[in-house]
């Protein structure tokens, strides 16, 4: 396998994918191979009652909204099971590149989706289905007294960010880059010197604030979910500095259940799906 991968191309993506197979998606693959019979069990698209399994890989910020959508999807398609995996979009991309058996990819940024398209992993055109904005979250008791955006640059703020290449962190850096103009050249450096930990995805970094160990983190508006509202306070980022995160979704070329994948994308982009997503603080795509 090693030799094969090298033979095709020495480029980094392939090598990255190889290890992704061994480390990241090993468990996923094992789990899915174990149930492989079910995945392949999709019946024709002729409108007949069909079983089968739909596997959705989605950015971790979608965990609540897609969880709800999955229940709705299973209601509408009796006998169908929706299986979802939520990780950072960059991790999911690596899994797909390695051939993790999945039907749909929903990314928190265009960049990861574009790479998937370039690699020929996506069927058809990806569709932007929601937008999101970044916010600062601080613990309810706000130990570092962060009352406005520029306070995150104060000395000794324990700031947590998602890992490098994770969209939520990339967006945060973009915002800091923009803020330089307004708050001075040192602002970005001051903020970055406050970073005490880089977490595997955006939800993990938000959790650091929820448990009270971090003073602040960058998250999405949609990460401010009802179940953390009694523990976390939001500090808004000035609109002129904020970014608009666009979430593309697409069915995958190697989908085992292409019919279900198409239906999932349809549900997500439908009026009903959009309503459910907005309930979780996502902004409509259009």
């Amino acid at each position: 396998m090693l030799g094969e991968a090298q033979g095709i191309s020495g480029d980094r993506r392939v090598r990255l994918s190889l290890v992704a197979a061994l480390l990241v998606s090993g468990v996923t693959l094992a789990g899915m191979v174990g149930c492989g019979g079910v995945s392949g069990g999709e019946a024709g698209d002729g409108g007949r009652p069909q079983g089968g399994t739909l596997t959705v890989l989605a950015a971790s910020s979608l965990i609540d909204a897609f969880g709800e959508l999955a229940s709705r999807f299973e209601e509408k398609n009796p006998g169908v099971k929706v299986r979802q995996s939520f990780e950072s979009s960059s991790t999911l991309l690596a899994q797909i590149q390695q051939g993790a058996p999945a039907d749909v990819f929903a990314s928190a940024a265009e960049e990861e989706m574009n790479t998937a398209v370039e690699d020929g992993l996506v069927k058809g055109e990806p569709e932007v289905f929601v937008k999101n904005r970044e916010i600062i979250m601080v613990p309810k008791d706000n130990p570092a007294n962060i009352d406005r955006f520029r306070d995150v640059a104060k000395p000794d703020v324990k700031l947590v960010l998602a890992g490098k290449d994770v969209p939520a962190a990339d967006y945060a850096l973009e915002i800091l880059g923009k803020a330089k103009g307004e708050y001075g050249a040192d602002f970005e450096m001051d903020v970055l010197s406050n970073v005490v930990s880089r977490e595997s995805d955006v939800r993990a970094s938000v959790n650091r604030v929820v448990v009270g160990d971090a003073d602040a983190t960058f998250g999405y508006a949609s990460d401010y979910t009802p179940d953390i509202r009694d523990k976390v306070k939001v500090v808004q980022i000035p609109p002129d500095l904020n970014i608009v995160a666009t979430y593309p979704i697409a069915a995958l070329e190697d989908a085992k259940s292409p019919g279900l994948a198409k239906k999932w994308v349809e549900l997500v982009t439908s009026e009903e799906g959009q309503r459910m997503l907005q309930k979780w603080n996502f902004e409509p795509a259009a």
Partner: protein, 279 residues
């Protein structure tokens, strides 16, 4: 040697079933050995093939290596200082509740490290059972190197204490008492007689505990977080790098593989010698 004697003596049994049985056994062993060595060989092949060892000098790798050296050194200092007398008491003194303590000490071995990380967070995190009081005095442990050491001590302690206690237990009391008769005080007896006699076991225990501390991942990433140079030890760096700079992740993995080999050989040698002495 013993195994071969047994196989030899059983040739009186019907030949067919014997060759079948030993054939199966040998195949199983070969399968197991192949299964374990294949991934390790793959690591080395990749490193050589891609020149990945150069990545060992990358800043992330160097920072991780230095941090791992520092934190495991502190962990071992704490373990030797506190674990050694504790092991002695466990081995020598029969007190009420010693069984409970014995069980308690073994728990970190079987507890998944991620669960240990959550437990440490709930104890020493800023809002934790103890952490909230530390916080009043301006002490926060989360995201500090101290948190890494705490996690390492928590998971590695049983490995040292258990083996040290076994080592102390194997020291002949008669020798200790003879030292007492010769006029040695408690301290003198402990340092001049007991510790030297148990030394191979103590060293073997220290090596396995060190290896466990070096490999510590789950408790550290949950309790201490991941930041270069502060809390990102080698295992955390491997995890962080494998998506960005694969060569760095591979070279760090090869590095710890080398450490693992060294530890196992050293422990083999030491325990082999100590049992040889006693025989």
């Amino acid at each position: 040697m013993k195994g071969r004697d047994k196989v030899g003596s059983s040739t009186r049994l019907p030949r067919g079933s014997d060759t079948l049985a030993s054939g199966l056994a040998v195949t199983s062993l070969a399968l197991l050995a192949g299964f374990i060595s294949l991934p390790l060989i793959s690591l080395v092949v990749w490193t050589v093939d891609k020149g990945a060892w150069q990545a060992m000098a990358s800043p992330v790798a160097v920072d991780a290596l230095l941090l791992s050296v520092r934190t495991t050194a502190m962990t071992m200092a704490i373990l030797l200082l506190i674990g050694t007398p504790a092991a002695y008491v466990l081995a020598r003194v029969d007190f009420r509740g010693s069984r409970v303590i014995n069980t308690l000490i073994d728990i970190p071995v079987v507890l998944p490290p991620s669960a240990a990380g959550i437990a440490l967070l709930l104890a020493f995190g800023r809002l934790g059972l103890v952490g909230q009081y530390l916080n009043v005095f301006g002490i926060t442990l989360s995201f500090t190197t101290a948190a890494v050491v705490i996690a390492e001590v928590f998971v590695a302690a049983p490995f040292y204490v258990r083996q040290a206690a076994t080592g102390f237990g194997a020291v002949d009391r008669a020798v200790e008492e003879a030292a007492m008769v010769d006029g040695a005080g408690h301290w003198r007896r402990y340092f001049r007689v007991t510790v030297p006699l148990a030394f191979p076991a103590l060293l073997a225990g220290a090596l396995t505990a060190w290896a466990r501390a070096l490999g510590e991942f789950g408790a550290t990433i949950i309790f201490a977080g991941s930041f270069r140079g502060v809390t990102q030890t080698i295992p955390l760096a491997i995890f962080a790098e494998f998506q960005r700079d694969l060569d760095a992740a591979v070279s760090l993995s090869v590095l710890v593989l080398g450490f693992a080999f060294a530890v196992i050989l050293a422990v083999r040698y030491l325990t082999g010698r100590s049992t040889g002495d006693r025989a």
